[in-house]
């Protein structure tokens, strides 16, 4: 087996000109621009992808149909495996619920209310989904920065953009006054989490906010005791197993990213 790869040529990448983006938004002149910097970083990267082949390997192994046993009995064959990269950068509109995400930038939580059935939506819906209301236009309402945990999980595995934060808790929070529940990060030590827990909504520092749901997170209202019926804490064996898995995850993240995500370090 050789470990020599195809030498990668450094491509001269084409930059996206700002005027091209402005032309795209002909009827929507830019009011604020917090994306050109991100575009300048990402566009060259995504433009090096696009289905072209970057390298290959030869591997040898089973082939053909039938059972596992039958396949493993056949004389192995060699297969050639190519590396192909493809990316894209999407410019996506938050649509009529954009005010919610702008609200996050200003440390505000907004919901919408149906003028017909009175249901309060957070996540907001621009149009009511109650079939009786015939897709009525909803109105914006300000919501308090408090709520209750509707359900939660503790993640020891997450998608690439969140991996360095592992282990962490996320859940769905019913904001006080709303009828639906909003997904968000829970900055609460896993051993203290329970359904029905009262939380306050906090925001990450202003300069880090991007107008997405990770701009806000929930912390526990202090002074609450874990009730005896709480499903996570009911079984000591389960709590032990969770602790062991979290420890492994913390070690992995420390090794990979050099970040210590101990709950104590995080002040949870």
């Amino acid at each position: 087996m050789t470990e020599i790869g195809v030498e990668e040529k450094k491509l001269k990448v084409r930059k996206i000109k700002r005027t091209r983006r402005e032309a795209k938004y002909k009827h929507y002149p830019m009011v604020e621009d917090h994306s050109t910097a991100a575009q300048e970083y990402w566009e060259p990267i995504v433009n090096t992808g696009l289905w072209s082949i970057k390298g290959y390997q030869i591997v040898k192994g089973p082939w053909g149909g039938g059972t596992v046993e039958e396949a493993l009995k056949r004389k192995p064959k060699e297969f050639m495996v190519i590396d192909r990269a493809a990316f894209a950068l999407y410019s996506h509109s938050y649509g009529l619920v954009s005010p919610f995400f702008r609200g996050l930038l200003e440390e505000k939580l907004k919901g919408t209310k149906c003028p017909k059935c009175g249901t309060v939506y957070c996540p907001p819906r621009a149009h009511c989904w109650n079939p009786k209301c015939k897709v009525a236009d909803c109105e914006w309402v300000d919501l308090p920065l408090t709520g209750v945990i509707h359900t939660f999980t503790v993640q020891c595995l997450a998608a690439a953009p969140f991996e360095h934060q592992l282990p962490f808790s996320m859940g769905w929070v019913k904001i006080d006054g709303a009828d639906t529940t909003l997904a968000m990060m829970l900055h609460i030590a896993p051993k203290e989490l329970f359904i029905g827990q009262k939380v306050k909504i906090k925001f990450i520092p202003k300069e880090q906010r991007k107008g997405d749901l990770t701009d806000c997170y929930a912390v526990a209202v202090p002074g609450q005791k874990v009730p005896e019926w709480a499903c996570l804490q009911k079984d000591p064996k389960e709590l032990e197993s969770l602790k062991a898995s979290m420890k492994k995850t913390i070690e992995f993240i420390k090794k990979r990213y050099g970040i210590d995500n101990n709950p104590e370090v995080r002040g949870w």
Partner: protein, 429 residues
């Protein structure tokens, strides 16, 4: 062409699921098709009226219109054919659509090829691409994997109805050990045929509490081809047709978090009184972020067509689409095999084990035997075909888990967090 005739599954072919195959998708489908042609020796290309192709993802392979490659590769490119896609429910949806195509009276014999090649990109990237079937504005940005979404649904169900992690462990052990009796299983390919125990489960790595690796569906590459036909044609292809007796489809909210005010299901299964006292009231107590209303309503649509009034008594076995083990427990409730909140007793009392009243996932299912999305429900439909035909020992060897005299069976499939789901009931002569 007669849309009022009964419709049957008349055999199929498998290219077994595995973590990786040297063969690419069209070759895998061809191998499965070869097996179908071997199983139905008098089937010719002329018999096939149309194709209904099942695959979920364009971005996993960076190839749009893969269905055209498949039709071309099988030499069936002069036939009507189209692709069905609906996330995790893709493969059951292909069955539903093929059934509708026949019932429309336009076609008599449909070939259903299903496949998915999920391991060309890294597992992390596959997970992320799958998670783009979740709401990318509202759910994906928080944690970003289905594992977390399903885990949170299960936590809510556990809190409401009192099943424990040990129950989830029991389901994992049942499914993996069932899987060791299915020689086409990915678990068998990767880990062999030794049974696992609850001890192994407790030692297993956590993914998202309460789900451990053993509770979660595997990533697979694989293909399956099924043949579906009207009664008059089916008799030519098989002596043991598996009749489709009921087909139900359902959908639910895109975001699971909206199911606390899920007006489309208002008044359905309205058993708020069985909520424990500590739970705050919500607008619509069913499905909440716990059960799967899309599959409940699908079952309510399918059962009357099949004349099923007591599913637990009447169904001899069920193959449930369970990307996570808690889903299986919830589905026993949503399919009315037991009352809401009683899923835990089904596993604790062995009702769903081999030899129990209604064995569930004897194939091993998605968490053990394989889950190449576009082929998944086709595999487990073919497994049911072998069961109802009494051919499990013939196909799987002496260790195969044949249900004696199995007559009626059911399969489910769903996508997203139960955003779309279908139930199909089967019966043999």
């Amino acid at each position: 062409m007669a849309g009022n005739e009964r419709v049957a599954i008349c055999n199929g072919g498998i290219f077994r699921p595995d973590l990786w195959h040297g063969e690419n998708a069209e070759e895998g489908v061809a191998i499965a098709y070869q097996e179908l042609l071997k199983n139905v020796p008098n089937l010719t290309a002329d018999d096939i009226d149309a194709l209904c192709m099942s695959y979920f993802s364009d971005h996993l392979n960076g190839q749009l219109c893969m269905g055209w490659i498949i039709q071309d590769y099988l030499g069936l490119h002069n036939k009507p054919g189209y692709r069905v896609e609906s996330g995790g429910s893709t493969s059951i949806d292909a069955l539903v659509n093929a059934y509708y195509m026949i019932k429309s009276g336009m076609f008599d014999v449909i070939l259903i090829p299903g496949w998915e090649w999920m391991c060309e990109v890294s597992v992390a990237a596959t997970n992320e691409m799958i998670a783009s079937a979740a709401d990318t504005d509202w759910d994906f940005p928080v944690g970003g994997y289905y594992n977390a979404f399903y885990a949170a649904l299960q936590v809510r169900h556990m809190q409401l109805y009192g099943e424990t992690c040990e129950d989830l462990g029991r389901i994992a052990v049942k499914n993996h050990n069932n899987s060791t009796h299915w020689p086409y299983s990915q678990w068998v390919s990767q880990h062999g045929t030794s049974p696992i125990t609850l001890d192994d489960y407790w030692k297993n790595r956590l993914v998202c509490w309460p789900y451990k690796v053993l509770n979660c569906a595997v990533m697979s590459e694989g293909a399956c081809v099924l043949l579906m036909a009207t009664e008059s044609k089916a008799r030519r292809f098989t002596d043991t047709p598996m009749w489709i007796t009921g087909v139900g489809l359902g959908t639910d909210s895109m975001r699971p978090g909206d199911r606390t005010a899920d007006f489309a299901y208002e008044g359905m299964k309205n058993e708020a009184k069985i909520y424990p006292d500590f739970v705050e009231p919500i607008k619509t107590p069913y499905p909440d972020m716990a059960n799967f209303a899309s599959l409940h309503i699908a079952a309510k649509r399918a059962y009357p067509q099949a004349g099923i009034t007591n599913p637990l008594k009447e169904l001899d076995l069920v193959e449930l689409f369970t990307p996570y083990d808690g889903v299986e427990l919830c589905l026993w409730e949503d399919l009315m095999l037991c009352p809401r909140g009683e899923g835990k007793t089904m596993i604790r009392e062995g009702v769903v084990d081999y030899g129990g009243e209604c064995p569930s996932n004897l194939s091993g299912g998605l968490t053990a035997s394989g889950h190449p999305v576009g082929a998944t429900s086709l595999y487990y439909t073919l497994f049911l075909y072998w069961q109802l035909a009494g051919k499990i020992k013939e196909k799987c060897g002496p260790n195969g888990l044949q249900v004696q005299d199995a007559r009626k069976a059911l399969i489910t499939g769903h996508g997203g967090t139960g955003c779309q789901g279908a139930v199909i009931t089967f019966e043999r002569d």
